[in-house]
């Protein structure tokens, strides 16, 4: 069962507090206070109090004045005024100054209290959900802005390149030159294609749900290692794989593969052209419910001052090879879904090592 709803009741008459608590304590977690300092103490200690009842007629301060005071410091709890005496002016005051949710008349009837609490709780939940959704929306908006900017460059860039090439082709008569240009056009289109595929990854990571299943790393790597082996052979890069899994591991294979593919393709892509013994190493070790994956390369490395930014959306730390600025951002999003962590170590012109740890589900 869910945790009991926390409510607070302030009244200067001890008898009322005792009666209130006796009536409601089975279904709710009830805090009581005979004065305002006592009430403030409860509010500081329990920021998750959802409903506050307050007596209107108290010495020093009225209930409305108290509610007016805490409106800005404790905006979340729903405020309910308990009062025996009501005239229209105090009702107006209570609503306008105290921003109260309900009145309950003294002496109270239990059913009225319960219904007030339940209604207030619904409001409270709707409000909290609204603020969570609001934060998500703000984040989505700011990513949308980045997207709009990126679309203007990363999609329009290759397209305008192709248009320019068609324009220049009109004055071109040499077949060899034409072929050279076609090769570059193909490269630009491939970059655009990668961009669109990564955008799709991005979207599924943001919206998709997790599908947890047994993961056999050996089997999983077998599925795609051949693609990298072919690439490794043609580019003359050594590819070493070491997998050590002697216990079951549960996770979602889709984001897991995305992480591996991004890290591996980066390791192959950003090789140092001046290094003779080019090498990419993949190590996977599953131990005590944690998978540790390391991907290291003998590549160009990443400058120290770029290291903090490589996981940002659309950040590119190299002009070698055409990156989309999506890859490591997607890796980070995938790991967030899997509760995983990533560390990076890099030495310029020597190589980079990414270390990923993911707990089993």
């Amino acid at each position: 069962m869910a945790e009991k709803i926390k409510i607070l009741y302030i009244d200067d008459e001890m008898d009322n507090l005792v009666g209130f608590k006796a009536t409601l304590r089975l279904d709710y977690q009830v805090f009581t206070a005979v004065n305002i300092p006592g009430a403030m103490e409860h509010l500081e200690k329990h920021p998750d109090i959802r409903v506050i009842f307050c007596d209107q007629r108290m010495p020093l301060k009225t209930g409305v004045e108290f509610f007016e005071d805490i409106r800005s410091t404790h905006p979340l709890p729903m405020r309910i005024l308990l009062t025996a005496y009501t005239d229209i002016d105090s009702v107006i005051d209570a609503i306008n100054r105290g921003n109260i949710f309900r009145f309950v008349k003294k002496p109270w009837i239990e059913a009225e209290l319960v219904s007030a609490i339940e209604e207030a709780n619904k409001f409270y939940q709707a409000n909290s959900m609204l603020s969570i959704k609001n934060d998500e929306l703000q984040r989505a908006y700011s990513e949308l802005d980045k997207f709009a900017y990126s679309v203007s460059h990363d999609i329009r860039g290759p397209l305008s390149g192709i248009l320019g090439a068609i324009n220049v082709a009109r004055d071109m008569h040499d077949i060899a030159e034409m072929k050279e240009m076609l090769f570059l056009m193909e490269k630009s289109l491939k970059k655009l294609d990668t961009y669109i595929l990564s955008m799709h990854d991005y979207y599924s990571l943001q919206r998709g749900e997790l599908h947890i299943g047994e993961v056999d790393f050996k089997k999983m790597i077998d599925e795609f290692k051949d693609i990298y082996k072919v690439y490794a052979n043609t580019a003359n890069i050594g590819f070493k794989i070491d997998i050590n899994q002697r216990e079951p591991f549960r996770s979602d294979t889709v984001p897991l593969k995305l992480v591996l593919n991004n890290l591996l393709s980066n390791a192959f892509k950003y090789q140092n052209k001046n290094t003779d013994a080019k090498q990419v190493e993949l190590n996977i070790e599953v131990h005590k419910g944690v998978a540790t994956i390391t991907v290291s390369d003998t590549g160009i490395g990443i400058l120290g001052n770029h290291l903090g930014e490589i996981f940002n959306l659309f950040y590119r730390a190299s002009s070698q090879e055409a990156g989309s600025g999506f890859g490591l951002y997607n890796v980070k999003s995938a790991l967030l879904k899997l509760n995983g962590q990533i560390e990076v170590n890099s030495v310029l012109n020597k190589g980079t090592t990414f270390k990923v740890t993911i707990p089993t589900k």
Partner: protein, 139 residues
């Protein structure tokens, strides 16, 4: 030849196109290519310009990784006027973002801007205008 060219762009295809269009306009034009803006800055600082060259036309892409076009201009602005005077910078951008276009136009050292795709006619018109403006002999 009194006019020479530098292209700064991270896309090889764009280099190929610009170079082709320039040499189609006149096969005697010399073109220097940089995929990385920092290397272009280093080159400009380190190299003495041949006395026969009066103007170097720089095609500068804006959206590049590492050092972008804005950062290039901000570094270039710090150069000695005697160095800067010989360079005529044309910003080349695929951007349709108004903020980018306005920002690049706000730099004093950016003489013109052209929106990609680059067209052969744009280059011819540009070269003729610069030749006239600086009274260059193009042979």
């Amino acid at each position: 030849m009194e006019l020479s060219f530098i292209i700064i762009d991270d896309t090889e295809l764009d280099h190929f196109i610009a170079r082709k269009m320039i040499t189609n306009a006149n096969s005697a034009f010399k073109v220097k290519s940089f995929l990385d803006a920092q290397q272009a800055l280093d080159y400009i600082l380190a190299n003495e310009i041949d006395a026969s060259i009066k103007v170097i036309l720089v095609f500068l892409d804006i959206y590049m990784p590492l050092m972008n076009g804005f950062e290039f201009i901000e570094e270039f602005e710090k150069f000695d006027p005697t160095v800067k005077d010989k360079y005529y910078i044309v910003a080349l951008t695929s951007s349709i973002e108004a903020s980018d276009v306005n920002r690049i136009s706000s730099y004093e050292d950016v003489q013109e801007k052209i929106t990609k795709p680059l067209m052969a006619d744009d280059i011819r018109v540009l070269i003729n205008r610069i030749a006239e403006k600086f009274n260059l002999k193009i042979t």
